[in-house]
Symmetry: C2
Subunit: 461 residues, 2 copies
């Protein structure tokens, strides 16, 4: 199927909207059916909610099922809510079991119960519902091919041909890796389709298979699954239950989406935004109130924590009145502390995400960061001295500013090294330690350092 | 091959180090050879530079080639520098052409010339050297299988079996998709290996292939290649030259690494750290001076831009002297502006990275962000008023603070919406617009807003 650029999809979206507004739903549905399922989902996502609903009501069950497989989760759930349960059950039956389970996971429990009772293939989906979305069990499909060790290459190829003929109309669901199980469904080996196709006919699967299969438990977090597949260049990884029985397969396409989703969550977290439920929704689908809720708690927390800066300034009210020029450096000093904190926290979080640094490396990491901070502190401290001199302030004040910049840079990099490592040690996702949180932690303490140094250095105080 | 946890790899690293220090290089090399190539690279990366060099000198050419394929680029280049060119040429001959080209791209030009003259398979590698690392051409492999339309399924399977027998010892390099070309090497179709294996014998490739192949040009940026493969769930995408001739293939494993690399670069950029060359190096491999260089220019720029805050405070020196309590809110106000800026910039950058928002949507995006800002401004402004009252400042000052918080939140979200969109319109990677840059831009202007409001609201001024 041809694919389209963003501009072509804009044009097609306009065509589809015109058809819908003229009441030509069948023509709009036909236009949609010509598109690649991924492009189809993109066009539907761009429609306003009402037009989207009306159009989906006119799609045949198979096209609707393909559409739901490609839509972002939250968009799919909103849309599903408006479909009659009987029709929705038919659509769920047509969907891949893992996508159907994801959609069911986002619907209200009483509706799910009704749908499962109505569905024909609910047996494939029910076992998947027990696993959270973000685990191997939540990502895996249960529609996989498992082989017995005593089969031959010819048996398997003949079997795959039958499988394909049974389902002529649909995409054949043959994976790139075939897994080998024993009588108790225990995973005992893997055969790469590339080896199967090029093996001499008559070869026994037991002789062809690799018995050292890399597998994951169903409860493994999706980030860990992604790390393993990426590290070992796997196109698919088998999923086992507590008894090491094969229960599903996670494929590379799921993982590409996980990597994107995690990256997208990280961007939001680092900016101080709660990613739930925003990370799973396209920008224009996010409701104002959701956006507000994702930002307000952090902003409030940071505001309350930041009030501490006011308390510090009130403590040093007398000093500020006496040497008014001290105040002009306040934003610059806390800004520099915040900037060094952001840089350090970004570096440490990246290393934690890539598993290059672990909490027990804390001291070694701190020693590295503090040496960088020494260099930065001397350089920026010296420039700060010159800047203060250029503004013509008293030489003692210039010294206090310069020493404070040096000290705040050391302090900021220390805090920004230990906080994400401590979070990680406590089992908190370190990407939640945002740049804004770091700046706020450093602001108040930075001011304290400033006035203590000023008191020591400036004779009038 | 079995795989290992991080803890097991720690233990193995200690074993290997002990063997090296006792001079048992062959035993250390044997221990390494037992590991999966990905684990092997991890252990080697953890060794100190000198031990790493000594060990690699004792590896056979094939094991060394597998190791270089898995190592991070910068680590591989450092290590290659210490190997005799004749041996290095043998290692490069054993490597996959795309990995060999990547390694050559990181070596000094005169060494590359010598190596290419020495290599047996340089013809496979030379065409790859013209493409930058971060393009489809830089990622692709030239070792792919191309079919003619008039072949049959049996012909192809027979051919794959011969291919496999020719290279018994090595992993057979058969891809999951086979591409079909005409006499001029133009790409005319694609056959999925899963369809090939399950098709009735005798089927013609022309009848089996999908003629609508999704392909990319060799100069396409790697992020765009990743986006296409992710969107259309492709395990491989063919790469064509200007004349639409098939010249290579990019596979899912390359893309998983691209997605990780891009995410890792984004984390650094958003924290205000230049990612080159750090993003390609493990944390512990980064030299202090490189880390300094990646942070200092940004810190200096932000410091100089931040000095503007001092100039604003000097402009309003008289007001500060008259109403000293104004100064205690300075850090809180600019902190809140910076926090809102970070949140907004993270949201807008995420939407830009995912191509959900484009520069021409600027006004629509701003209207969205400003409505969220209105809600946040009212909420945090009201809390700011209470906070000021609790500190017992004059009611006029409390009003000025509260109104300023409201105005600064609107202003911060406006700046943070337009700046990344403008950067993107100008062809600058918007992830370079960091939280720290945003805070600094907002700091000075936020203070200006504060004092202008204070003058208008406080009768004494």
């Amino acid at each position: 199927m041809p694919t389209h650029t963003a501009e072509a999809l804009d044009r097609i979206t306009r065509e589809v909207r015109d058809l819908i507004r003229q009441g030509h739903y069948t023509a709009a549905a036909d236009r949609l059916r010509e598109l690649h399922p991924a492009d189809r989902a993109e066009v539907v996502t761009r429609l306003p909610a009402q037009e989207r609903e009306d159009l989906v009501a006119h799609l045949d069950v198979e096209t609707a099922a393909e559409l739901f497989e490609e839509l972002d989760e939250e968009v799919a759930a909103d849309l599903a809510d408006d479909i009659h349960p009987e029709r929705l059950a038919d659509i769920l039956d047509e969907m891949e079991p893992d996508d159907a389970a994801d959609l069911l996971g986002d619907l209200p429990p009483d509706l799910v119960e009704m749908l499962l009772a109505e569905m024909e293939d609910s047996a494939e989906v029910v076992p998947l519902l027990q696993y959270p979305d973000e685990t191997a069990g939540g990502l895996m499909t249960t529609a996989f091919v498992a082989l017995q060790e005593d089969a031959t290459v010819d048996d398997v190829i003949a079997f795959l041909r039958i499988l394909r003929q049974q389902d002529e109309d649909e995409d054949v669901d043959i994976p790139f890796y075939l897994f080998v199980i024993d009588d108790q469904q225990h995973l005992v080996g893997v055969v790469d389709l590339r080896e199967l196709v090029s093996a001499p006919p008559g070869t026994r699967i037991a002789d062809l298979m690799d018995p050292q299969v890399i597998a994951v438990d169903a409860w493994t977090d999706q980030e860990e699954v992604a790390r393993i597949m990426k590290k070992y260049d796997l196109a698919a990884v088998p999923v086992t239950d507590e008894e090491k029985r094969l229960i599903g397969v996670v494929t590379y396409d799921d993982i590409m989406h996980v990597l994107e989703e995690e990256a997208s969550e990280d961007i939001l977290h680092l900016g101080g935004v709660e990613s739930e439920p925003l990370a799973e929704k396209p920008y224009w689908e996010q409701k104002l109130v959701e956006v507000f809720r994702s930002r307000f708690p952090w902003l409030l927390l940071l505001f309350v924590a930041g009030s501490y800066t006011g308390s510090v300034l009130r403590m040093f009210d007398a000093e500020l009145r006496q040497v008014i020029s001290l105040s002009i450096f306040i934003p610059l000093i806390i800004g520099t502390g915040g900037n060094v904190g952001s840089q350090t926290v970004a570096t440490v979080i990246r290393a934690l995400v890539l598993k290059e640094v672990r909490p027990r490396d804390a001291l070694r990491a701190w020693w590295r960061e503090v040496r960088v901070a020494l260099l930065l502190g001397v350089a920026i401290g010296a420039i700060g001295f010159l800047r203060a001199e250029l503004w013509g302030v008293d030489a003692h004040v210039a010294w206090a500013v310069s020493l404070t910049i040096f000290a705040v840079i050391l302090w900021a990099s220390t805090v920004a090294t230990f906080v994400p490592l401590a979070a990680s040690a406590l089992g908190i996702d370190p990407t939640h330690i945002s740049g804004p949180l770091m700046s706020t932690l450093i602001d108040g303490t930075g001011l304290l350092i400033y006035f203590l140094i000023a008191r020591a250095v400036i004779p009038e105080l």
